[in-house]
Subunit: 97 residues, 2 copies
DNA sequence: AGCATAGGCAAGTGAATACTTGCATGACGA
DNA sequence: TCGTCATGCAAGTATTCACTTGCCTATGCT
């Protein structure tokens, strides 16, 4: 459960993908490929990113919806809000930005 | 920087160690070994845990202070509060628990 | 001084994982 | 219907990483 979230966040490429989805939600696989290549200079294959997206989806950080031959990816921040508070003590938990 | 934090949190054993330090701060290596073994049933060698602590220290999630032949480990939650807000949109950032 | 305790360093092993290459499927347009 | 575009599946490789084993350093006690 939270295990998958931490594992998903462990890879820098996957964190870039999340960055990209924060900026523009609902992108397709090819869009993400293109923007990672141009903006971040990552020359990864389509499959590499597809597998990363699968990991993110397994962690429920990304929700997908099919539309014809396109598959759009939406960011889901809910799991992120849960995981970190685990180690925040009561007094530190109040002023979370 | 934040890279090290995510990498540190990727391993379940390291997350257990953080759990242990939340419960009681300032433990030595042997204390952590003992409590992980008894409470969580983890039969890991001393070096394994020592290496995990080194990773946590590199991520600044654990601060250490030497005192004689003892080395005490203190939890530092500051890096945790930074990393997740990266993907929280403005509207979601308000009601963080 | 001598010995036990607390921790550190380094090399080696096995498993997990990120990435690639090649082929298959399924939807849309001419 | 045929070809193309977007994606999925599977096997193979190579690197990363967690863990162990063995030896070394240093502090404190008797």
């Amino acid at each position: 459960m939270a295990d998958d979230v931490f594992k998903a966040l462990a890879d820098p490429t996957r964190r870039r993908i999340l960055d990209e989805l924060v900026e523009r939600d609902g992108q397709s696989l090819f869009e993400i490929c293109a923007r990672l290549a141009t903006k971040h200079g990552l020359g990864l294959s389509r499959q590499a990113i597809s597998q990363h997206l699968a990991v993110l989806e397994a962690a429920d950080l990304v929700r997908t919806r099919r539309q014809g031959r396109y598959k759009f990816h939406d960011l889901n921040t809910e799991p992120l809000e849960r995981i970190v508070t685990r180690w925040l003590r009561p007094d530190a938990r109040e002023n979370t930005p």
